[in-house]
């Protein structure tokens, strides 16, 4: 049975914070005035709030002025971009002591472009210290073009310093799917105590 979405005449308010990844130093965090504004109060089971990158160390002082709720009927106006202030100097003033990390190699995940395999260093508490794709699908010309954009490298300093503790990662591309799959397997293994 396929569920059907219900149409709604008006627009719900939308108030996600703007976030941008600064070029050099990682995460820029903005906070919501009213996180509950994006929860469709009681209307669904999908209560959602944006968190501060799960990182007390990246608590920044760059609040975004949440636009006023617009109860106007739906229009075809294009979505506007939230102004984002990039202020690298305010990012991550406290870097915690580096955790003890152990290197793991995730399973190879096949994609239509070829295999992807991730090697990651993970602390016992699930913090990702670093991660790299050690096998990437680069044997075909198409793969090279895709891979260049799609395989993320998780060894960003901000990533390592924020104590990443995610249940899952949502993203878009074929090879990043495989990358996340391989990395997720490592996280699962560490969390369940079956390795390390």
């Amino acid at each position: 049975m396929t569920p059907s979405p219900r149409r709604r005449p008006g627009l719900a308010r939308r108030a996600l914070p703007a976030l941008a990844l600064t070029g050099a130093s990682g995460f820029l965090l903005s906070t919501l005035d009213h996180p509950s504004a994006i929860v469709d109060a009681g209307a669904s089971t999908a209560g959602v709030t944006v968190v501060s990158d799960a990182a007390s160390t990246t608590a920044l002082s760059t609040p975004v002025t949440t636009p006023p709720t617009d109860p106007a009927p739906q229009s075809s106006a294009t979505s506007a971009t939230i102004p984002v202030t990039t202020a690298a100097t305010t990012v991550v003033t406290t870097v915690p002591a580096a955790p003890t990390c152990t290197a793991y190699t995730g399973p190879s995940v096949s994609t239509k472009w070829g295999p992807v395999q991730v090697q990651a260093a993970v602390a016992a508490d699930g913090t990702i210290c670093s991660a790299d794709a050690i096998v990437t699908p680069d044997s075909k010309s198409r793969s090279v073009a895709i891979n260049d954009r799609a395989v993320p490298v998780l060894n960003d300093r901000a990533m390592a310093s924020q104590g990443t503790d995610f249940d899952g990662i949502s993203g878009a591309t074929i090879t990043t799917n495989a990358y996340r799959g391989s990395l997720q397997a490592i996280l699962d293994a560490v969390a369940s105590g079956s390795v390390g």
């Binding site: 149409r7 939308r14 914070p17 941008a20 999908a46 979505s79 899952g168 293994a189």
Partner: protein, 249 residues
């Protein structure tokens, strides 16, 4: 931290990795394992039914003219019906065909994941996470925490995460131009390259995934298009790495 995290399993399905976490504190591990086995088996069954990479799938047999649509499994009819509805609802931006052949792959992963994950609830489990290739359904609560934390991958940089969201129940799906699968975006032209990725959050993964795919194809109007559906929220990341949400100004 995930120190009391219950049963976690992963397995390769649908060309990517499924990750299933069961956090029910009082459930025996063998019960959780059996439920996870059932989810994985259902995903495999549905992949065998729909995969265009498998010559034995019903979709492949339909495309070769060996199987009439009216003789297909109810699941195939359901999916094709839903895809047809979505094509109309998106004025053709969503397309269930690729090069003239049926290819509902842009719809099936989310639909199959949601369908398979229900088996956990049917077996009495209350607190679980099912993620398949970056799309996920969550139910209940993770052990020791109030909500699930989901990282959103940055599609534009070689850094993994652009932000995090917490979800108390429902689904998160992200689609992007890099996974275009080459047909969904053909009709959209330049508009279809507006967003590097679109994430949709809502009660159903079937529709969160389908709406994310469609919003990418629709381009500038995609986020507003999603917002007409009750309970669904969308945000996008531009090719410049800027996060954009619905009607922000």
């Amino acid at each position: 931290m995930h120190t009391t995290s219950g049963v976690r399993r992963h397995a390769e399905v649908m060309g990517t990795m499924a990750s299933i976490h069961v956090h029910d504190p009082t459930v025996d591990a063998t019960v959780a394992d059996a439920a996870i086995d059932a989810v994985l088996a259902e995903l495999e069954r549905l992949e065998e039914m729909f995969s265009t990479y498998r010559p034995t799938s019903e979709i492949s047999r339909v495309n070769r003219g060996e199987l009439d649509l009216v003789a297909c499994s109810p699941e195939v009819i359901d999916v094709l019906d839903a895809c047809t509805w979505l094509e109309h609802a998106s004025s053709g931006a969503f397309d269930r065909r690729a090069r003239g052949r049926l290819d509902p792959a842009g719809f099936v992963k989310g639909w199959a994941t949601e369908r398979a994950s229900r088996l956990l609830t049917e077996r009495g489990l209350e607190h679980w996470f099912v993620g398949v290739g970056g799309d996920m359904v969550v139910h209940g609560r993770p052990a020791g925490r109030d909500c699930w934390t989901i990282a959103i991958a940055d599609p534009t940089k070689h850094s993994a995460v652009i932000t995090g969201i917490t979800v108390t129940g429902g689904a998160v799906a992200t689609s992007g131009s890099a996974e275009r699968g080459n047909h969904l975006w053909a009709a959209g032209g330049a508009d279809a390259d507006t967003w590097a990725s679109v994430t949709v959050i809502g009660p159903s993964l079937t529709w969160a995934d389908a709406f994310a795919t469609t919003a990418c194809a629709l381009g500038p109007d995609g986020l507003d298009w999603v917002s007409q559906f009750d309970g669904y929220q969308a945000f996008a990341i531009t090719h410049d790495g800027v996060l954009v949400n619905t009607r922000a100004a």
